[in-house]
Symmetry: C2
Subunit: 132 residues, 2 copies
């Protein structure tokens, strides 16, 4: 039984796969929510034509990560965090499995005697509940 989560994760991860879009998301995240950020302001850091930015914004909008609101001739953009939160949940859910198994893997590597098998084992499990 393979749990199918719907097309939203496709759109979200796909949207995050582009560095321009990640930068836009980052900028929107840091901006003042009540103000929003105009398309022009979002476009300013990039050496790219306005239509290219417009396309990126529609990708984010289609993924449900961005909402636009007209304010005169300016369009103010805001981030909707729900899709990224769902993507984060997907990762977190599955990380629980493999972070649990990393201990077993460490044991496997020791018993195998090889100290370089090409895995990125560095003992760093970010996001792990490190509490008491």
């Amino acid at each position: 039984m393979v749990k199918y989560v719907g097309p939203s994760l496709n759109a979200t991860f796909s949207a995050l796969a582009d560095p321009t879009r990640r930068a836009i998301v980052a900028r929107l995240g840091e901006a003042d929510f009540s103000q929003g950020v105009s398309v022009g302001e979002l476009a300013e850091p990039f050496d790219m034509s306005p239509p290219a930015i417009s396309k990126h914004l529609r990708v984010l909008e289609h993924a449900g990560m961005l909402t636009q609101q007209r304010d005169g001739r300016v369009r103010r953009c805001r981030l909707d965090p729900k899709p990224i939160n769902e993507a984060a949940q997907w990762i977190e859910h599955h990380r629980q499995f493999w972070n649990h198994q990393l201990d077993a893997l460490a044991g496997f590597l020791e018993s195998a005697g090889g100290d370089d098998v090409g895995f990125g084992i560095d003992g760093n499990h970010p996001g792990e509940e490190g509490g008491p």
Copy 2:
């Protein structure tokens, strides 16, 4: 100053954007690390030709998420969690900003008087340190 994180995030998010690849990652995560999973076992749930699976595996491999090891005529696959951990870190880092700002947004919505602006505000911030 836009912090450039390198091409690995591109490859990781891009790899996760495909449902077949997410299912493979999920299966690898649940599997026994010391055993690995053969390509045939990974391919079995999908109605897809062997070359298609092979391509998906190379995408995951190129993203650094998968390592293969020959064992006779079988190739055992294992998950390398490092890239996904980095992707999770990127999301977590930026979520700190906008989850912080959601409070301000709630206030903005109240003062604006509109109770339906199209945002997905549901008071649900998954991953937030939810106390003891």
